[in-house]
Symmetry: C2
Subunit: 370 residues, 2 copies
């Protein structure tokens, strides 16, 4: 099954366990997962080949492969908590999110699944927002919610929670940085409980995962990815919301920003976004006018990449590619060209390195050696 070109999927129970084992194994991220499934045809077949591939990539020690027991334990814990683990194309998996290159193979979803299938708009901003910023986030969230959009945000203090609260009645969605049983910040557990009645929450992390600082940027790609567009309400220079805006632009999502006085440091980031091309937003209609034409467009499925493991690389191919790599990120396309081998062979070597924990994939098609 090619997970990128199916629009309606239903995994069997055994497939779901295999998918969960594969994505929870060491050095397997969403992109690697997709390469493995596309090549071997199933997670089951890929799991059998993982040790061999990692060894060829030069792994110092074998990466841990998630056992069937561990996968069944996670699945049971999720179910006890009301969380379903759904694949792209299954009910409850936000359709826009499924189109990302790095869409989570299995997403933990909780709440009203129909809400997760509706068109979403993300509202994000400062945790220490001003009164005016909070008020405007509420107005915008309520107006867009009343217009039929599901508001998605990060359940954080400040702008996030204001946007969630103002759109509670019509359903609003939280994207979590940790497991569904590790809500951050803890004081928003009540808010989340209220949200789940007519809205939902999603996470790609396993139950029990306590969110660390590095999980938040990773989570932010899901906020923007699930949405048609991202509205940044207040953001200082170098704030997390600006990272979300950058990722949103890379994902081809519309970026909106709320202006503010040049004397207000909490507007410095949003004013900069507008200078860089974000749509200046002072009312819901600014967003709807830009979003409506996109909604009419059918979701375009990407063509699957070349089969990454079509050919067996030789030792010379591996050595050449490792020599070309270093700690400074380099464009995948440049690397393949410089490697003077076929793209398929270069991709196979990279996949082996990744499974060996030696390759890091950055945004924008950049890779570096760890």
């Amino acid at each position: 099954m090619d997970i990128k070109t199916s629009t309606s999927t239903h995994l069997t129970d055994e497939q779901r366990i295999d998918w969960l084992r594969l994505i929870r194994s060491d050095n397997v991220g969403p992109r690697t997962f997709r390469s493995l499934i596309n090549h071997f045809g199933s997670a089951h077949a890929a799991l059998a080949r993982l040790p061999d591939l990692a060894r060829r990539g030069g792994a110092a020690r074998a990466g841990r492969i998630c056992s069937e027991d561990d996968a069944r334990t996670e699945l049971a814990a999720s179910q006890r908590h009301g969380v379903s683990l759904v694949a792209p194309g299954e009910a409850g998996y936000p359709p826009r999110l499924a189109m990302l290159d790095d869409a989570p193979p299995l997403l933990g979803v909780r709440g009203a699944q129909d809400v997760l299938m509706r068109p979403m708009i993300a509202i994000v901003g400062s945790r220490n927002a001003s009164g005016a910023g909070l008020k405007f986030a509420q107005t915008l969230a309520r107006d867009l919610s009343d217009a039929g959009f599901v508001i998605v945000s990060g359940l954080a203090r400040g702008i996030d929670q204001a946007a969630h609260r103002a759109s509670l009645a019509n359903g609003t969605v939280a994207v979590l940085a940790g497991g569904h049983d590790r809500i951050y910040p803890p004081e928003h557990e009540d808010l989340l409980a209220a949200m789940l009645e007519s809205g939902g929450a999603i996470s790609e992390m396993p139950m029990g995962h306590v969110p660390r600082a590095r999980d938040f940027p990773r989570r932010n790609r899901l906020i923007s990815g699930a949405a048609l567009g991202v509205i940044v309400v207040e953001a200082a220079h170098r704030s997390g919301s600006l990272i979300t805006a950058r990722i949103a632009a890379e994902q081809g999502r519309e970026v909106f920003a709320v202006p503010g006085s040049p004397l207000d440091p909490r507007a410095a980031g949003t004013n900069d976004l507008i200078k860089q091309g974000a749509t200046l937003t002072t009312q819901a209609s600014d967003v709807i006018d830009a979003i409506e034409p996109i909604m009419g467009r059918p979701i375009v499925l990407r063509e699957p990449d070349d089969d990454p493991l079509a050919l067996e690389p030789e030792a010379g191919d591996r050595a050449r590619i490792v020599d070309l790599l270093g700690p400074t990120p380099i464009l995948l396309d440049d690397l393949i060209r410089m490697a003077e081998t076929s793209p398929a062979i270069a991709r196979t070597v990279l996949l082996e390195l990744e499974l060996a924990g030696r390759l890091e994939r950055h945004g924008g098609g950049l890779v570096s050696l760890i």
Copy 2:
């Protein structure tokens, strides 16, 4: 002398009196003045033909022609007040202003004439500005002034006076809506006096002219026209500063606007300007980055129009054009095409109607019958 294509002009004393008589005569605005000079070769010759042209245009009663005595009286009163009446191309006439289609044929200038020849940037905004708006206007004015630009504004309360005060040291220019001896608002006479030491003031109105409401939009075209660009700091919906911004855009001037919170009504106009394409401005460098490339460009002189009085219209031409005109403004180009006569003849008829006080010229090449 063609006043539009000369870059260095010096009128004789007699010419200056004739120019003053012509521009102060009934129904002669800057555009009509230019047409008359271009056709008759001099103001002196045009003055002799005025009664005849107005009669052919169907004037109910002959328009008043300014007498030589009245012109000499105005000139003397101006000189006593330290005001020089200068023509486009003469020292003291801001060079960008001279390039307007409706540049005043004679401009009353006072203060440091060299300052009037330097590159200018206009800063305008609300009279009832917020503290933050006033503070930002000061910062911007000081920074741009220190960068070598002359700040030009309207001497009004609020943003205007804040911009003037912050740029006093390097020279700042006020554009007056009334005569040089009728300062509005009166409480800014002290500010103007301080400005005149190293800056200047300009007006196209005669001494003694008390500014009326309709003089302010007319004056605003000189603020934007003298400048390379116009910065609107705070402006509510439908405020005068937005008219200045619209005129500036029509004149080909850069338009800058300072953003503000969507909840601040004094930012509603500036946020709208940014939505319409004005450059979002949070610091002086935003303005300088956009203005510097323009400064390098030589001022482009417009080709003179076709000679408007080259042919004698017949009675049928006049009747057809009057029939086509009405109280609803129509594009001059459309009118000429519909009149089924030569452009030169159509323009002659329009000039006659104008001198008869029957034609109104609006912005954007629109005309209507009064």
